[in-house]
Amino acid sequence: MDIRLTVNGSQHALSVPPETTLLGLLRNQLGHTGAKLGCDVGDCGACTVIVDGKPVNACLMLAGQADGREILTIEGLASREQLHPIQRAFEEHASLQCGFCGPGVILSAKALLDENPDPSRQEVRDGLAGNLCRCTGYTKMIDAVLHAARVMRNETDHSGAKVEG
């Protein structure tokens, strides 16, 4: 079937068999391997991408359902010049170990902060509940998301120092 969609700002028109998932399309047709294939049934969140502003599991969406939609993957987050503030906070807080869960976690965090720029710790936990991590224990991820939120609200810089205003 024919599909048109926008991925990280670029438009694509391609033809795939109907049983292709959005995850398969992104990884195999477009070479965006940031979204990972973990459980393949919606449990782990490693395949999380943002579709029309909302985080979803790309393993549970058929490519046909993504027709006409706008997708953001982890590849679209940083620019050549700099990392996204959430990525930078993850780096500074040493929030990831093996990194397999990272693209999904970071996109869930981005979707959360886009909607709620000043979340409580509990709201961050809730926003990341669909992303399993086998390495870290989550604490440093939650710290990083809360820190990135402060950076994005211009209340602090990346070192954690208060922004003079």
């Binding site: 109907p18 049983e19 979803v56 599991n57 058929l62 359902q65 869930s108 669909g130």
Partner: protein
């Protein structure tokens, strides 16, 4: 995944026509959070997938003269964000919030949750405690029935092969009825219910309980009402003792199974506690009105 044909239905008529044409070879796709896992693992996947995720006429939440109408395609996230639902039925927001995690709630629909008809579904109890009915669309027109008649068994509903679930309606007389939902799972996030429960009640002019409803999930082949527990409450002064008693009766009338998540005995104990608590919360809401 095995190969199948795919059509995105533009409107309800086209969807039901396709269902009639392809019969048992066809499957409806809404949010896909249940269906895609099935398609990946089933030895006999359908030949035709009819995608209704963008079909006209199946979305939206609104108050009509019949009651509160929720389109089958409304997602769990949309329920949580709906100001109408927040105002009249915070319990529906609580129930939606316990479903999976953000990603699942963004795709998963209310209709898909009800049609999948697993006993542990989290959207069923609150709706049943509010006497909700469903509207089904078929080639020979629409029909409606109470949710209690829609569920036929584990993963079985009253839908005929050429029908789809169009909308869910909470009757007008129950808009604003005090209701509460609680779920007990092994973890907070991403966990199916060991038991879930909803309770609703009105208070009459003398402060006695009127039209009590108790609905339970994961303790029978479908979501069920607890009629004996309801009877023990009707017309009574709402004391803590009567709510404890209702919990005990509800635990007696449900028929949970033992599985790897919990034993039947444990589930009955949880029923007792949850029923007492949902009644206490619903009562507290009623006093505020």
């Amino acid at each position: 995944m095995r190969a199948f044909n795919y059509v995105a239905a533009g409107d309800i008529q086209q969807a039901v026509r396709l269902l009639a044409e392809h019969g048992s070879e066809a499957k409806i796709l809404a949010g896909g959070t249940d269906l895609l896992a099935d398609l990946k693992s089933s030895p006999h996947p359908p030949r035709m997938v009819i995608d209704i995720s963008r079909t006209q006429g199946l979305g939206g939440i609104e108050v009509t003269d019949k009651g509160l109408r929720i389109g089958a395609l409304v997602t769990h996230t949309e329920i949580m964000k709906s100001s109408v639902i927040q105002e009249h039925f915070p319990a529906l927001v609580d129930a939606a919030h316990t479903i999976g995690a953000v990603q699942t709630r963004n795709l998963g629909t209310l209709g898909g949750n009800l049609v999948t008809a697993v006993p542990s579904m989290d959207s069923g109890p609150t709706l049943m405690a509010l006497d909700a009915w469903v509207v089904l669309a078929g080639n020979s027109g629409n029909r409606q029935m109470p949710l209690t008649e829609f569920f036929k068994g584990p993963r079985r509903t009253a839908l005929k092969p050429d029908e789809l679930l169009m909308e869910i309606v909470i009757p007008a007389e129950n808009i604003g009825k005090p209701v509460n939902f609680l779920k007990s799972g092994l973890r907070k996030g991403q966990a199916l219910a060991l038991v879930n429960a909803a309770g609703s009640l009105w208070l009459d002019a003398k402060g006695r309980i009127r039209e009590p409803r108790i609905a339970l999930g994961a303790v029978a082949p479908t979501v069920i009402r607890a009629p004996n527990a309801e009877k023990c409450l009707a017309g009574q002064v709402p004391t803590p003792e009567i709510m404890v008693e209702a919990g005990k009766i509800a635990a007696e009338e449900c028929k949970p199974i033992t599985d790897f998540r919990a034993s039947a005995t444990y589930r009955k104990e949880i029923v007792e506690v949850l029923v007492k608590r949902v009644l206490m919360h619903a009562h507290a809401q009623a006093l505020k009105k």
